[in-house]
């Protein structure tokens, strides 16, 4: 706690309250045949409730590793991650994950995929209520009509919608998305970005999302966390994205500030921390 330099992490004025999710001096070291390999070295980040955080950085710098320590799939070698002052030790439905490859169970319908989570997390709710929650969240992502389809009958965008519905149906405190739209075509991707924003503002869930797309980050995030290159990667810079909400893609792209921020991010990624092979 004492090492946290919160002053550097300016948070938007719209948000108030205590630190919600704290990444406290976290390092991750993998043992490898050639000796220990430090992927992340002393990461500090404080996220406030309801914030939308995007994470950007070159491939292999450790973004997934960092978010995996938030979702609990991996454990920090040093330091800790706390959600509402409670140390994170394992995965749980309060930090739902949306995976890049959807991770839907192929033998279950869209409805059953969503229902499985609800049934598992709220075993004591009456069945009718669980069904209603599942249907409500499928409707929320516009898939009420596709509820009985199996994943292979759904397009990539639809699959990712089911995955988002499955996550949000559990009312998570934090939504963790690892390049959720990376595999989608640009049009579907923009649609899903808009839906995600709407869901986020309706649910007031805290979002951590990895992206490779600066425009996506500028459209979605309150703050953009830019990581330096590995090994021993760190947070290089945190950019505040001040556009008012609700955001309109066309409108913010007319804002000269948009290009300032965009250039700043490009400068960070391709000049100051250019990848060796790029």
């Amino acid at each position: 706690m004492q090492t946290l330099n919160t002053t550097a992490l300016k948070r938007p004025e719209v948000l108030n309250g205590d630190p919600f999710l704290v990444i406290d001096n976290v390092s991750k070291i993998y043992p490898t045949p050639t000796g220990p390999y430090t992927v992340l070295d002393g990461i500090n980040l404080t996220v406030y409730e309801g914030e939308f955080i995007c994470l950007i950085g070159h491939s292999g710098c450790g973004k997934s590793t960092l978010l995996d320590m938030v979702s609990g799939f991996r454990k920090p070698s040093e330091g800790e991650v706390r959600l509402q002052t409670k140390r994170i030790t394992e995965p749980g439905p309060d930090r739902m994950v949306v995976f890049q490859n959807y991770s839907l169970l192929p033998w279950l319908s869209a409805f059953e995929n969503v229902y499985l989570g609800i049934d598992s997390v709220y075993p004591n709710k009456p069945k009718a209520e669980k069904v209603a929650i599942a249907n409500e969240h499928l409707a929320m992502v516009g898939l009420a009509d596709a509820a009985n389809k199996r994943p292979r009958e759904l397009s990539g965008g639809m699959k990712q919608r089911v995955s988002i519905a499955r996550a949000l149906a559990l009312r998570p405190k934090v939504l963790v998305l690892d390049e959720p739209f990376g595999a989608l075509d640009p049009i579907t991707r923009e649609e899903l970005q808009e839906e995600l924003l709407k869901i986020w503002s309706d649910h007031q869930v805290t979002v951590l999302m990895i992206t490779h797309d600066i425009d996506e980050a500028l459209f979605l995030a309150d703050r953009l966390v830019m990581m330096t290159n590995g090994p021993a990667a760190n947070i290089g810079e945190i950019m505040n994205i001040p556009f008012p909400r609700p955001r309109n893609r066309a409108r913010i792209m007319e804002d000269p500030e948009y290009y300032n921020l965009r250039n700043q991010a490009l400068d960070f990624l391709y000049r100051r921390f250019a990848h060796a092979d790029e």
């Binding site: 799939f73 995965p91 739902m96 991770s103 169970l105 192929p106 279950l108 499985l116 075993p123």
Partner: protein, 277 residues
């Protein structure tokens, strides 16, 4: 389908010119006819060691072919009854192997420790030829029937265990992660993730297992005696009824094929559509 273009057009033209019956039934019939003719030519001389096909038919027509279910007491029974007796043993031995094998395979697949402990053992034991177990089981069980069933069991169980284990181990990490983040209970994980994901592998094991069972029962029965197709063949050999052996072999082959197809059919009904390769 419609966009497949020239290839699908060509094959559909071919399909019209040559219906499925002509395409898949005629060639094997021709092959069988050719083999029968060659066989007949080779063994038609007066001092041939084996009967030709015509002799086989003549010698086995009454009563073996026309009445598969006659029962003159003792082991003197129709081939239908002999095969049913063998199938009965296979049914018991194979069912036990399936139950124990799937359960063990899942256990071994779930626990890396159990895997490390038992897998080397399985790898050695599975190479033991089925009949090598027979003396041991006769000594232990004292009776021929349970011994034959044990041989089936021990023959069929290895591929079932090993394939089930692989099926459980290959459950994609993605699904395991979903289970973790949803905190799925053991039974839910079992029914919603483990079983659907492992079931194609389980059926591969079952299919190999049933084939080996049928191979083993014929051999085991030759040694243990009693009613059954294996002993029937051995008995026929001892009384030089070679035509009966040949007829029995044909039946053994057909039953083996049916067993294999039966398991494949059950698999096609049980394996989730999404899991079919």
């Amino acid at each position: 389908m419609t966009v497949l273009g020239s290839r699908s057009k060509k094959s559909s033209k071919l399909g019209k010119a040559m219906p499925a019956v002509t395409k898949y039934v005629v060639p094997p019939l021709v092959a069988i006819a050719v083999i029968l003719v060659i066989w007949q030519l080779i063994f038609s001389g007066p001092d041939a060691n084996l009967p030709g096909p015509i002799t086989v038919l003549q010698e086995t027509w009454d009563p073996l072919i026309i009445d598969p279910f006659f029962d003159y007491g003792g082991t003197n029974k129709g081939l239908g009854l002999q095969i049913l007796a063998s199938l009965g043993r296979v049914a018991i031995g194979f069912s036990l192997a399936a139950i124990v094998g799937i359960a063990l395979g899942i256990l071994v697949g779930i626990s890396p420790f159990v895997y490390r402990a038992l897998d080397p053992l399985f790898q050695v034991l599975r190479t033991v030829p089925p009949l090598a177990w027979l003396p041991l089981s006769l000594a232990a069980l004292q009776q021929s029937d349970p011994s034959a069933i044990f041989v089936i069991f021990i023959t069929a169980i290895w591929p079932i265990i090993i394939n089930t284990t692989v099926g459980v181990q290959q459950i994609p990490q993605d699904y395991r992660n979903v289970a973790k983040v949803l905190r799925l209970s053991g039974p839910k994980f079992f029914w919603k993730i483990l079983l659907p994901s492992a079931v194609p592998y389980i059926f591969t094991g079952l299919r190999i297992g049933i084939g080996l069972s049928w191979l083993a029962i014929v051999a085991a029965e030759m040694l243990t005696g009693g009613v059954g197709i294996g002993f029937f063949i051995w008995d026929a050999y001892n009384s030089s009824r070679l035509s009966e052996i040949i007829l029995a072999l044909v039946y053994v082959g057909i039953v083996g094929l049916i067993l294999d197809r039966l398991v494949a059919f059950v698999a096609s009904k049980v394996v989730p559509e999404e899991q079919k390769g």
